[in-house]
Amino acid sequence: MSALSRPLLPVLVRREHASLTVKLVAPPVALGLATLLNLGLYLLMGRDPVAVFHAMLLEPFLSWASFSEVLLKTGPLLLIAQGLAIGFRAKVFNIGAEGQFILGAIFASAIPVWFPQATGQWIWPSMLVIGALGGALWASLTAFWRVKLNANEILVSLMLALVAAQLLNYLLLGPWKDPNGFNFPQSVMFQFDAMVPILIPGTRVNVSLLVACAFSLAAWLFMQRSFAGYKLQVGGLAPRAAGYAGFNEGRAIWLSLLVGGFAAGLAGAAEVAGPLGQLQRSISTGYGYAAIIVAYLGGLHPVGIVFSALLMAALYIGGDNAMVSANLPVAAVRVFQGSLLLAYLVAVAFVRYRLEWRHVARGSTP
């Protein structure tokens, strides 16, 4: 065949060894790529890209006041993402963390809503525990459907998240609506003892950030150091090998979903018992979905997820800043999140592949 009919094309060639360097630089490269793309979009929308860049990506880190808000948002994202990553590594795709988060918030709110006069330091810890159990309970429905009925966990967990949002609406418009709340869809304000204590005086950062860090440490010990974690990962990487080794697939699915639901429920409880102080419609600004991106961006590794959770939290705060200072719609944050995950998935392809320019015969696929 002549050289003319064999055009020079880029081809992905499998590396002999996965590249650790690429694995480490992929997240920052993805961030750079997504930033460029989105600044281009803002330019098209007639906004000043430099001002947006400053408001969105720099300002969150420039003052203690805004950085403390970043830390506040890091808590729930970190918790949910650590829980999800455990499942993702076992190839159990729980994408309904949003619903488990909402159920956690609802369960936790039951105590102050039903016992508004109760006092004592036992209240907020019990709320966190009950919230976590509520999240795990909601996730257990998905686990049951997957293990016993063979149903796809992606679809079931997502549908349950949509149901959870309606359940929240029902409670806030009906039985749990604050009678003195001017008809707003929100519960009563919680009593003082139902609030998680403040961790850093002068900010809204509370003890739940410590809980999230402790959970991250536990996730690291479990995934990197325990046999149960090892079994989960083998199940994800080589399901057949796991089967031959006698690792129980059903148990891995139950474990993945329960841990994911537990963490998301805990995050939901900490949100109502923390910065919000009541159950309201807007308890989650898409944390459950953003945490999926956090988990991937952190390489599904407990240490990486700490950094990606901080970044995603900064994006939320930066998005709010840009809305005020550069008149950027809030939806821009979702666009940024989606493009960030796409950019990361492209960048991370080069961990296992490298690009080569080759003459490819026409008709064959690169």
Binding site: L12, I292, P329, V333, R334
Partner: protein, 303 residues
């Protein structure tokens, strides 16, 4: 008009967004690609169609632009998931988030605005039959969607193109060895599926409920993906499933109109609950799923 007549008359229109999106996903999945971004593709198509129709561009242009925009976004999915061999689940979720974000961004200044829908075209004689007559009085898009359903069934059942798509999904290595361009076929299938998702979103936004509200797709893209499983990858069963969901969403409307004492939140979550229940029933029959399932679904292809 009683509830039965109401449901029969409106079922097909309510089913159309589900049907179009599910047919698109069917084609992609038959070629071995699991595209979970349907919700975002529909949301993008919806906003593009709405903006064009609102600005006076007309329904035809609105649908075409919606199809093109969603096909373009689905090609981004194809480049990342097929070109760079990324995890298809993660890529689909990213496209879903991106599409919904773009939809909210573009639609921001159109919130709560309305456009005019499309007139009904009635079949003579048939539409005069009592009770079921309403079935035969539908807008042009419904009639075209029914034609598309038959066409897609025929392509898979009777043509070489259909056979090649299925071969690529069943056993890409064998298809490649026979000289078929696996990746190119998958790209085409994904783009086709994207265009149909765009039409589905357009129908929802400028014909079925011609009013713009952020998040108006409300999980219909996800239900469409579930419909492909319900239909066990068969066109005819997917059509029946779409009709079921059309009827379910209308039944909740009818229940509200007749003043049944059921909370509106329960009715809103009815389609999701039905999805969960049916998914459990169908999936527990493992033999049924194996029989028509796609062997290489979601797996990257490397030669």
């Amino acid at each position: 008009m009683n509830a039965l007549e109401f449901i029969l008359a409106g079922m097909l229109a309510a089913a159309t967004p589900f049907l179009l999106a599910a047919l698109g996903e069917l084609v992609a999945e038959r070629a071995g690609v699991l595209n979970l971004g349907v919700e975002g593709l529909m949301a993008l198509g919806a906003v593009i169609a709405f903006i064009i129709v609102y600005q006076g561009g007309g329904h035809l242009l609105g649908f075409l632009a919606a199809g093109l925009a969603s096909a373009a976004l689905s090609l981004v999915f194809a480049v990342v998931a097929l070109g760079f061999r990324a995890n298809q689940v993660a890529t689909g979720l990213a496209i879903g988030i991106l599409g919904q974000g773009l939809s909210a961004l573009f639609g921001k200044s159109f919130e709560s605005l309305t456009v005019k829908g499309l007139p009904k075209l009635s079949l003579p004689w048939l539409s005069d039959i009592p009770v079921i007559g309403g079935l035969f009085s539908q807008d042009i898009v419904v009639w075209l969607s029914l034609a598309a359903t038959v066409a897609i069934w025929a392509v898979f059942a009777h043509t070489k193109t259909g056979l090649v798509i299925r071969a690529v999904g069943e056993n890409p290595k064998a298809a490649r060895a026979l000289g078929y361009p696996v990746i190119a076929v998958r790209f085409a299938a994904v783009a086709f599926g994207g265009a149909l998702a765009g039409f589905a979103g357009a129908y929802a936004a400028v014909v079925y409920t011609p009013l713009w509200a952020d998040g108006m797709i409300a999980g219909r893209g996800w239900i469409a993906i579930a419909l492909v499983v319900f239909g066990t990858w068969l066109t005819s069963r997917i059509f029946l499933g779409a009709c079921l969901f059309g009827a379910v969403s209308l039944a909740s409307l009818a229940a509200q109109a007749t003043g049944l004492d059921v909370s509106s939140q329960l009715l809103s979550s009815l389609p999701y609950l039905v999805t969960i229940v049916v998914l459990g029933i169908i999936s527990s029959n493992r033999r049924l799923l194996k029989l028509n399932g796609v062997a290489s679904l979601g797996e990257p292809f490397e030669q």
